[in-house]
């Protein structure tokens, strides 16, 4: 373990330790914020009953569907609009005026259109995730190095090879961070959607327990969301390193 890791662990341990201390001496109201000990117990209970896993899987599934849709649509639109100036002039104003609307503001209309269940969550994740993918793909294709295209053309590349061997790999280092951001946003959106428009998932679990004043379960849900989000981001970084081994990275 290097010094930096030691400091990470030390900082985290001190935080938990202080929290536990304040809870034990009674400075924190356990209904408003349960102690770490109590949280651990609650998490274990929820896990043992299978509730936590069940809700987590429900949320993950919704993110996966919405994220994949957003990936497909975002990349397709980004490539086409990045390539064609005419289409981009026609469509970009619409995209740019939809983009600033926070995904949460789409919730009422999502319920109106899709009712309650998985569909509004898919939709809200899609809305949250599609813009980062689109914007990054668009600028990747728009800013592609003309000299590299010329190099490929003078070496005899036709349209197929040009797209597969040049355009796509040249764009990946910019598209990928867009996908990573999109997954993060999608994860936030699914929880927001489930608070209102679902009968399962971590957001729903949090909402239920708030009504029942089971704060320890609310916080357990929140921590699970944080951990899963962190794991997703790490997974994407790993995938990025795998798929884009040629990229120079700051050390």
């Amino acid at each position: 373990m290097n010094t930096s890791t030691v400091r990470h662990v030390a900082g985290f341990a001190a935080f938990i330790g202080l929290w536990q201390f304040f809870a034990t001496v009674g400075w924190i109201n356990p209904v408003l914020l349960p102690s770490p000990e109590r949280l651990l117990f609650a998490a274990w209970e929820l896990f043992a009953e299978g509730v936590l896993v069940e809700h987590t899987i429900a949320s993950l599934w919704r993110v996966l569907v919405g994220f994949l849709l957003a990936g497909l649509v975002g990349i397709a639109f980004g490539v086409v609009l990045g390539w064609s100036r005419v289409l981009s002039d026609l469509v970009r104003p619409i995209v740019e005026s939809l983009r600033p609307i926070p995904p949460i503001a789409w919730t009422p209309i999502a319920i109106l259109w899709f009712g309650v269940g998985n569909a509004p969550s898919y939709f809200l994740v899609f809305i949250g995730a599609v813009f980062p993918v689109f914007v990054n793909t668009f600028s990747a294709v728009r800013n592609i190095d003309r000299v590299q295209i010329n190099a490929a053309l003078c070496l005899g590349a036709g349209p197929g090879i040009l797209i597969r061997d040049i355009l796509i790999p040249a764009s990946l280092p910019i598209i990928f961070p867009g996908l990573r951001i999109a997954l993060g946003v999608g994860w936030m959106c699914v929880v927001a959607a489930e608070l209102i428009a679902a009968q399962s998932g971590l957001g729903y679990m949090i909402q239920q327990n708030r009504v029942l004043l089971q704060t320890q379960n609310v916080v357990t849900g929140m921590i699970t969301i944080g951990l899963v989000g962190f794991a997703m981001s790490a997974l994407m970084s790993m995938l990025e390193r795998r798929l884009i081994p040629w990229m120079e990275r700051p050390k």
């Binding site: 000299v147 010329n150 190099a151 003078c154 070496l155």
Partner: protein
């Protein structure tokens, strides 16, 4: 035309013929645009090593881009073995100043690219690539990505990539402009060796007089604004060119002549820059 005449015509026909070439670039507020190249006539014969020499902004890179097929002429013609050049093709490959290697491909894959586009089998691709990687002395670096090797090595890889599809003409656009002086000298010697071994026609753009005299059979001097051909010199030095070539009296005389021809251009350029700077 009878058979004999055809043969003679073929034997004397230049590999590359540029006639009355004019290139304008559109600019806002100027209907006639900017005249980048004006009345360019140039013949290049098979196996020749021709240098395009001139100050920056003289349009020499534009000319190379038109010859490559990246830009279309406004007027005039570029004929490659009698055929009008309308688009890039792999009979004229280019070595670029900033290498333009594909960063997502290893050296090996970069060199293979011009064969892959032609559907050459994996096995044959690997063999041809190996040959050219050996030729540019990059053996052992086949599996490196471009960001893992030095500038000089990148340019060697780019030369191998341009040679692998067996082009008629190699177009080199200030290929050593981004390299340090020592690497530059070494690569000039490498290019002399490689062009002798492959017997390719080479059209080489530079703004360095030394480089032009050391490499060229013929030096085409260009002047700026608009880009015109100002003079042509035949280099009176035989081959092979070696490091000692640089101290031959002919080398020094020609370099001095060229300097005197070009000096006003550089001074002009400098004065203009000074004026622009003092205005801004």
């Amino acid at each position: 035309m009878d058979g004999t005449a055809k043969v003679i015509a073929a034997a004397t026909m230049p590999q590359l013929l540029i006639a009355g070439l004019v290139k304008r670039f559109p600019v806002r507020g100027k209907p006639e645009g900017i005249l980048a190249l004006d009345g360019i006539n140039l013949d290049v014969h098979p196996g020749e090593f021709v240098l395009l020499l001139g100050p920056s902004g003289c349009g020499k890179s534009t000319l190379l881009n038109v010859i490559a097929g990246f830009l279309t002429p406004t007027e005039g013609h570029v004929l490659h073995e009698g055929q009008e050049v309308v688009r890039p093709d792999r009979r004229r490959t280019v070595v670029f100043q900033d290498y333009a290697l594909f960063p997502w491909m290893t050296v090996q894959k970069n060199v293979e690219f011009g064969l892959k586009t032609q559907g050459v089998s994996l096995k044959e691709r690997a063999e041809v690539a190996k040959h050219f990687i050996d030729l540019v002395r990059l053996s052992g670096f086949e599996d490196r990505f471009p960001h893992e090797i030095s500038g000089g090595m990148k340019q060697r890889a780019a030369i191998a990539r341009a040679l692998a599809p067996n082009p008629d003409i190699l177009l080199m656009d200030e290929p050593f402009g981004a390299l340090d002086a020592q690497t530059r000298v070494l690569l000039q010697e490498e290019v002399v060796r490689i062009s002798a071994e492959t017997k390719k026609t080479v059209l080489f753009v530079t703004h360095s007089i030394e480089e032009a005299v050391f490499l060229g059979d013929r030096i085409v001097v260009m002047s700026a604004r608009p880009g015109r051909i100002r003079a042509e010199y035949v280099v009176p030095i035989g081959r092979p060119r070696t490091p000692e070539t640089r101290s031959l009296p002919e080398f020094i005389t020609l370099a001095q002549d060229l300097w005197h021809t070009l000096k006003p251009e550089w001074q002009d350029d400098k004065t203009k820059e000074d004026i622009e700077e003092s205005n801004s």
